[in-house]
Amino acid sequence: MWTFFHKLGSPPWLYKISGAILRYLLPATLLALVCGMTWGLLFTDPDFRQGNSYRIMYIHVPAAVVALAGYYVMAIAGAISLIWKMKMADVAMKCCAPVGAAFTFISLATGAIWGKPTWGTWWVWDARITSMLVLFFLYLGVLALYEAFDNKEAAGKACAVLSLVGMVNIPIIYKSVDWWYSLHQPASIKFTGESAIHASMLYPLLLMIIAFYALFACALLLNMRAELLHRERRSNWVRKLAQPEAG
């Protein structure tokens, strides 16, 4: 257990193992993504209320789920790097922010596009959309704070503190936005209850959620590998690595 923990803290080991993982994970993820998208786009019946536009759900919902989970991954990695001073957790936290922001952007953009045929407008101040927008701001805040520091070690710590503060606040923000929306809810765009999702729609959705999680992991690992090379560029193992590659 502890040796594993120590190995996790070693950059060359992490670089090697992440390369090995990615060799299998990345093709599997892409395969799952293609399967899920084809399944959702071609082989499911349209929703009886929303018609074919509901097919956006197969990317919108997974992106939103992963974006939210990504913030927690970032905050937990930040906590680990603050408490145990683990360098690799710092790298992970730094690399989570752009990936998570990208997933939040996907869920916002697809939500807006979905809103046009469903509600008749591109943007509705609905509780979930508003919360996702706040999540996007939180990600952007972490990214901006990291960029503002010249000393990257301090930047990592500051971002870890900020993401922890954000993690405590996310449930509060979600609850209050939810409450705010129920107070102001205009009658015209009310969802008539969450209809129980049919099994034929559920399975492709689950596949897409798994694929998006795996994709988050892939993008995170790829970013971490690049960041590791950048940080360790003076060390021996990186020099040895660079030798045959471009030779």
Partner: protein
């Protein structure tokens, strides 16, 4: 397969534009998520390799002058 032919798949009863646009945006962003770190890693490796070669050339010149 739900759709009868390719044309109805593209149109999706009038919702095609929205569905395909959101899938296109998603795929674009996901592609960028994968490609950007890959390119960054390759560029870094090339840079580090270049630095090493320059350092090797410089040290070779140094020893050459000493000899």
């Amino acid at each position: 397969m739900y759709f009868a032919d390719f044309n109805s798949l593209l149109r999706m009863d009038g919702h095609g534009g929205f569905v395909w646009a959101s899938y296109a945006i998603t795929l674009l962003v996901l592609l960028l998520l994968i490609v950007i770190p890959l390119r960054r890693r390759r560029r870094l490796l090339r840079e580090i390799h270049g630095e090493q070669r320059r350092a090797a050339v410089a040290s070779a010149a140094e020893t050459g002058r000493a000899a």
